[in-house]
Amino acid sequence: MTAARAFLEVRDVSLSFDGVRALDHVSLEVARGEVCAIIGPNGAGKSSLLNVVSGLYAPARGTLLFEGRPVHEARDLSRLGIARTFQNLALFRGMTVLENVALGDDFRARATLLEHALRTPRARREERRARLEARHVLALLGIADRAGDVVGRLPYGVQKRVELARALAARPKLLLLDEPMAGMTFDEKRDMCRFVMDARETLGTTLVLIEHDLGVVMDLSDHVVVLDHGRKIADGAPDAVRRDAAVVEAYVGRFAA
């Protein structure tokens, strides 16, 4: 893994909030096509790291390279091929499932406001395509029958799927998932695992995910990065990380067994 070839490279990133160090000289590399899990105790800086990678936080220092190019603003990310979901869901709650998912792909549309007002062929074609694409993704995730429902009224587990669907609708090269299975039942988790792996297969997406369920992590990932107090304390294959002494210490009791 040479630095220049990495698919995603986080280089020496630090981030503080009012003097509290959230990330402390964190570097890591993610290879194309792999599933990389970021784990660590609460407050370890996992979400901060994901927010830096998705451009929502500007790091105090360090750089971020995606396919060898520096990344700056969140708005550019979808164009570069990066999509994400959020720990606490960031959905358009007053809108329908279909509208939410279609917006995932909106950055590709080119028709202007005037074209929409005049219903030009391009505007209609783009609209049709976005809806078709959205329905396709909904079918993949088994929520096609919810297309017309208002998101805010759906159960939590379904909302999680809608958010994943919206991210997938962007057909991202890199998908960032912040606790995609948090608060889910065992069955929901199993379904979610399947959806995530299917998506990776069909889209060839590289995955970076934060997850607390270590069973899920060990099953899904090719590569595990462990954070603790904003520092990276381990990085490697799941089995190697499982045996790492520093990790065991950070997870005392939970990992020791």
Binding site: S54, R84, N88, A90, F92, F107, L113
Partner: protein, 293 residues
């Protein structure tokens, strides 16, 4: 009964005029969380531009198109030059910025157009429609039809256009809007442009009703109770609350005011608004803010 209906219908139609002003607020508030107190000055500016063009012999339609262009340019300029640079500023800073813009606009309008009062004739008389059992002003009905068309156009815009759907998305969750790659600054520009158009329509209707003069910018004060009652982020809400405010202030004036010597109309909507603030702070249709803790 006939008299009651007459007051009620008159009030409802007056409420339409308040809604017209409130709509401009809602567009900007939904898109960017800015409470644009300059909306009143924009209404004034639009009416003055139009009436000045007319007085210089410009044809009605040409003046309308030119005023539309001026208002679009003005609204976009305000957003680009001032508010875009205040992203993440506290709400009070944003409010004060728009208050400043309001005074600058009024001052500029005075410099450019002078201070005299202009009459504005849209070709619809304020006389009662003949042949109806109750007296209903032709102009009020005209205003309601124009407002209805504008609201319908906004409805289509928000339902079917990319920009409209994008603006609803921003209103729902700004963070998610950024995360899916919506061009938020571009959408803000569009929202301001829309507020400029709404200001023009409101300016023409209000100008024709009360004359084009500097007190026109005070219609903004009439929109406040409508906004509080309807909710700052709900178009449907301000339509309903405009009707409520218009009808209730007229009914209160006629039926209660007559016993206490009148003058209720001017403060009654504010009393209602305070009642709403106490009992239902999110307005009729405004959504309560729920935060995960």
């Amino acid at each position: 009964m006939g008299f009651f209906l007459e007051v009620l219908v008159g009030g409802l139609l007056a409420g339409v005029m308040y809604t017209m002003v409130a709509l401009g607020f809602v567009l900007i508030y939904k898109a960017s969380g800015v409470f644009n107190i300059a909306q009143g000055a924009m209404v004034l500016f639009a009416a003055l531009t139009f009436v000045t063009l007319l007085e210089h012999g410009v044809a009605f339609v040409a003046a309308l198109v030119a005023s539309l262009a001026v208002m679009l340019a003005l609204a976009v300029a305000i957003e680009r030059l001032v508010l875009r640079h205040l992203v993440n500023a506290p709400p009070m800073a944003l409010f004060l910025a728009t208050l400043g813009i309001s005074f600058i606009l009024e001052g500029t309008a005075q410099l450019a157009y002078g201070t005299q009062v202009h009459g504005l004739e849209l070709g619809v008389s304020d006389a009662p429609i003949a042949g109806l059992p109750i007296a209903i002003s032709r102009f009020d009905v005209f205003a309601a039809v124009v407002a209805g068309a504008l609201v319908a156009a906004l409805g289509v815009f928000f339902r079917t256009t990319r920009a409209g759907v994008g603006l609803r998305a921003i209103a729902d969750d700004p963070l998610a809007a950024v995360a899916v790659g919506l061009d938020v600054p571009r959408l803000w520009t569009i929202a301001w442009g829309g507020a400029g158009v709404v200001a023009l329509v409101a300016g023409l209707l209000w100008g024709a009703r009360v004359g084009v003069q500097f007190s026109l910018s005070l219609v903004v004060l009439k929109a406040l109770p409508v906004l509080v009652i309807g909710g700052f982020s709900s178009i449907g809400g301000v339509i309903a609350s405009g009707a409520i405010v218009g009808a209730s202030e007229k009914l209160a004036e006629v039926y209660v005011g007559s016993h206490v010597g009148g003058g209720i109309e001017t403060w009654f909507p504010y009393a209602m608004a305070i009642g709403f603030l106490l009992l239902r702070p999110t307005g009729l249709f405004g959504r309560p803010v729920v935060a995960r803790v």
